[in-house]
Symmetry: C2
């Protein structure tokens, strides 16, 4: 009842509850009250591991678990554009919960996309079938940056995803925790310059070499909005958040240290500080920098609760590189899910044995592929849950 | 005179000098005699470093140095299809020498392509402008492998590149050594299954998980022809050869150890053995597995003379990972060449200082991009040659 009222209000009226302190009643109506009424969490294994406590089993979730490999997702998707799904709280919430209904997972992750931030600051983003995200008017020179609005109100621009988070928390009924997420500044910057996916990121990496000062400024502006958006997700009900630095693989130690580490450090510190200033308990945070094998030690010292590994890093090597007692997440090769059941079980066991069962969250090393057989996800979950702690 | 006769014969008649031992006179005419008459090598810095001797300066060459960033290359290329250039000894030789005329480099590398082997075994390969290589009829299932001819006579199929090597050796007149190269089996297999470039290699990696036995067989067949082709390159005049495992970045430690290490080991050992059996002095060999940060130690133990590093590996970290006294090659980020002269000089110096001046060959960490300013190559060469040994 109350939730419906909140959602109606959400749709009809942009809100400024953080930027306009006079709007406290709306803030209360929209977030705080529903938050207070969120159902109690029944499966806290993920949050326990992330905060250094002992879970009752190894938690497992799958990156991009709400996605095209599920027939029930494709069924909804066929009638809706990708970003229509993202921006509709009811639909986004429904597809978020689909994998939770099908599998005994230990977390849900809100259905959304890292490119909602480029959209929010004023760059059009389309999802082209068979191609992926396309930004028809990418940044060509640093002068183009001034055309964008980095002061955009995330509560207004991301109201669809924020409302979906609140709604999903209620729908989940405490079954598993709900994760929020965001694209990291460099990953967003590279999409905004390349205009879509790229195998080399030549254009955006060239900015780092040609325009180091302007690149730092752009990254700083993106960091600001990333922080505001993560805070808003937590207020909306996200119980843990993951930062995706998906394009670290084409950088290297120098560029990553110069252009990414400062932004990732600020995100962690300022999200925590901002939440504390609002008297809101900070949530655990995961950093997943795909391909950043060269910077795992530095990443593990940024005070995130969890560090994600991609599949090119041997778990034992990863454990040796990161700071002591770092909680690691990962890292099965998504292609391993195309193998038969026996080989997948064996690969999953090898991975878990190599990570060790403690300080560990089971996941893939990157998002699941659309062509993946659904039974493979079942095999991974059964295998990891067969381990006794 | 003699060379011209040989080349004419080469064009008019397929040869089988390795597979048909009765054809010794042709072998003599075609390779041995011109080889004996090759001009003396004036700049042996690269070969010295590769064989553990002290050079007079740090040698430098640039991966894909004969390519589209050079206006003189684009001038020739506009009148000829890519593979027309590859297969015409005169043209291939001309573009091979273009960067040697322009810059004070320490090696030439024959202009060719790793995909000549898929072509030789019977898969069509086209170079599509703006896209890259396309194989219109890729392998769909392991059954398709039987349609290919892995016993193809490399001397007949690759006669263009082999003749180009012999011709270029003469044209270089001993100025710098001439490198040959080949694509490594996994990299070739992935192209043959994906049908072109791919950001995920999902199809070909799926073979490794779904059809491990058939994948091993295909890789073994590719290894056989790779070995024969490298031997033929050395006989034709290549003074050093590089094996490109360009698609290692999407594997991981397990897959690489299982599917790549055995092929790379065989290539090194059997090329040496085959040359020795023919009373030909083996040449130094380089292995460059792009993205194989997770296997550098294993790679350094395969007895190649040189190990190439991509730019994601910190040179100091690389030095610590590889076996003692390994000669390393690399590894400037090709995007660094888009920076201004000062920053490029600084990045080049940082790299050299980090590698150390001994047991080191200066290069990029991957092929130079077509949009690169030609002055940037000059800057790198000037910087590296300013070091005193």
């Amino acid at each position: 009842m109350l939730l419906r009222t909140v959602l109606e209000q959400f749709k009809s009226e942009p809100v400024n509850y953080i930027t306009s302190p006079d709007n406290r009643s709306l803030l209360y109506l929209q977030y705080i009250l529903p938050n207070m009424n969120f159902p109690a969490l029944l499966n806290d294994n993920l949050l326990k591991v992330a905060t250094g406590q002992k879970p009752s089993r190894i938690p497992v979730w799958i990156m991009r678990q709400a996605g095209r490999y599920l027939p029930e997702f494709r069924e909804i998707r066929k009638d809706h554009d990708f970003f229509e799904l993202v921006n509709d709280p009811e639909l986004a919430s429904e597809v978020t919960i689909q994998p939770i209904k099908r599998y005994d997972l230990d977390a849900a992750i809100i259905f959304s996309d890292i490119l909602v931030i480029p959209t929010a600051v004023g760059l059009e983003v389309k999802m082209e079938p068979g191609i992926g995200p396309v930004l028809p008017n990418p940044l060509k020179t640093p002068d183009d940056v001034s055309k964008l609005d980095f002061d955009a109100d995330v509560n207004e621009k991301m109201k669809g995803t924020l409302a979906a988070i609140t709604l999903t928390r209620h729908k989940l009924n405490g079954k598993v925790p709900l994760l929020g997420f965001v694209g990291a500044p460099w990953t967003l910057m590279s999409y905004m310059i390349e205009g879509g996916g790229s195998r080399t990121l030549t254009k955006s990496k060239s900015w780092l070499y040609k325009y180091p000062k302007e690149s730092t400024e752009l990254l700083s502006k993106l960091t600001d909005i990333v922080i505001r958006y993560l805070v808003a997700q937590v207020i909306a009900g996200a119980q843990m958040v993951q930062v995706f630095e998906s394009h670290a693989d084409l950088l290297g130690p120098e560029l990553f240290k110069k252009f990414c580490i400062p932004t990732l450090s600020r995100i962690r510190n300022e999200v925590v500080a901002s939440l504390k200033a609002k008297n809101i308990e900070p949530v655990p945070m995961t950093i997943f920098a795909k391909g950043a094998h060269y910077a795992l030690n530095e990443i593990s010292q940024l005070n995130y609760n969890v560090v994600g590994l991609d599949w090119t890093v041997d778990p034992k090597v990863g454990r040796n590189l990161v700071a002591k007692d770092t909680v690691l997440q990962g890292n099965l090769d998504p292609c391993a899910l195309f193998g038969d059941k026996d080989s997948l079980e064996k690969n999953t066991r090898n991975m878990i044995d190599s990570f060790g069962v403690h300080n560990y969250i089971c996941n893939l090393g990157h998002g699941i592929y659309p062509e993946t057989p659904t039974e493979s996800v079942q095999t991974i979950i059964d295998t990891v849950h067969s381990y006794k702690l």
